[in-house]
Symmetry: C2
Subunit: 243 residues, 2 copies
């Protein structure tokens, strides 16, 4: 996340990155040539905003070292509430809703950035910061952000696991997984126009018991069977079919 | 499916549609102005290929009415084996792997068309037919196609259901579902470069028990809790974490 934010802010002119802090000196090598870095918490420079882009578990602990600062402290986590930051500081959240992988560029312009602050001035500041890299900055409170993060687990983590199981089925049956890529794309694109509720197709949606039974028999892994059964049941329930 | 195939074949010159049969006269109105139609099985014209694009359950039954024909009979189903067609006929399968909705255009050029036949000549014929509308025609036998269809249930039906649950969570918490669309796109696009196994992120992948517990507590529907628990367990298992 830190690297992706750094890259996004580096290529535009409205903001200036003053320093990158990192506990691990090796992890700082990426930034070293481009900007001042430090791995010493007592050496952190003055800035208008401190973006705390670290693991959820470390946010409370690390942000304590910023209590002497006047700038706004904002973490970048979906699931951690704003009040995990030190109480007497100016606090905020700057949460880009996207999945980040080390070696994959993302287009920040399209990434919603969910901001939270304690007063209008800080909202304005975070909005300015977000607008420098994204066309979509939105105010969400901690509860809304937490819900969004949970919804993102379904649309990203669980969806990707569906892809993984599909790949396992393909490998077991000597079918190229690549054949599924256009279907995967269309499934994702379709819901820009239709609600997922209306976009649903397939044997569970049709309540086609014969196909459901055949599919269950066809699956080799007990785990895949369980998932198939539970999700099919949930789809049938959604469309009001008797179970 | 029949409409989508009709539209795709209509706009190119390599093939000619001779007639559309449909049991239901009203359903034929879409084709009436453009082509000869019939709802009388005894009125079916001679053709090189008969595409049986109907519900799985009707394929065996309806294709029996084509036993006097010399042309190749091909159904368009993913899960029905080729030998569900009448044994003494020239038989084949022409299965476009995509999700079709009535009012949504799809780009056939990118849709894999999985073909099966009983001899080289019929393979050649189906390959020609497929190549007229798609850049990706591939030979798969009935077992492979059945596996692909099952994998497609995971990547399309179940994935769409994940989107639906995410939307329910958003509605319950007053968060715009649209915020998730860029994430949904990136999740689908990412696996063009990374395997789903490598693309996996999230609390289950990290074995972050604290977040998993908080998420379970946050979910309001018993059904959503069950799905969250089962899929998280499956992800943890995939990455070899102790359960």
């Amino acid at each position: 996340m830190a690297k992706h934010l750094f890259d996004a802010f580096t290529v535009q002119n409205g903001t200036e990155i003053i320093q990158v802090y990192g506990r691990n000196k090796n992890a700082l090598s990426y930034f070293n040539n481009q900007i001042n870095t430090t791995s010493d918490l007592s050496n952190i420079k003055e800035a208008d905003i401190y973006l705390v882009a670290i693991s959820d578990a470390a946010i409370s602990e690390v942000s304590k070292f910023l209590v002497a600062k006047k700038g706004l402290i904002a973490h970048t986590s979906g699931s951690i509430p704003m009040n995990a930051l030190p109480h007497k500081q100016r606090r905020g959240v700057f949460y880009p809703l996207q999945t980040f992988s080390a070696n994959r560029k993302v287009n920040f312009k399209e990434i919603p950035i969910c901001i939270e602050a304690e007063n209008e001035d800080d909202y304005k500041l975070l909005n300015e910061l977000g607008s420098a890299i994204s066309d979509k900055v939105i105010q969400l409170d901690s509860d809304q952000r937490k819900a969004l993060h949970l919804a993102a687990v379904f649309t990203n983590n669980f969806t990707n696991h569906m892809y993984h199981i599909a790949q396992e089925i393909c490998i077991q049956n000597d079918v190229p997984f690549e054949l599924l890529l256009p279907l995967i794309n269309e499934t994702a694109t379709k819901i820009h126009d239709l609600s997922p509720l209306d976009a649903q197709t397939g044997p569970a949606r049709r309540n086609d018991a014969g196909t459901l039974e055949k599919h269950l028999a066809q699956l080799k892994h007990k785990n895949h069977k369980k998932i198939y059964a539970l999700l099919s049941k949930s789809i049938r329930k959604t469309y009001g079919k008797k179970l």
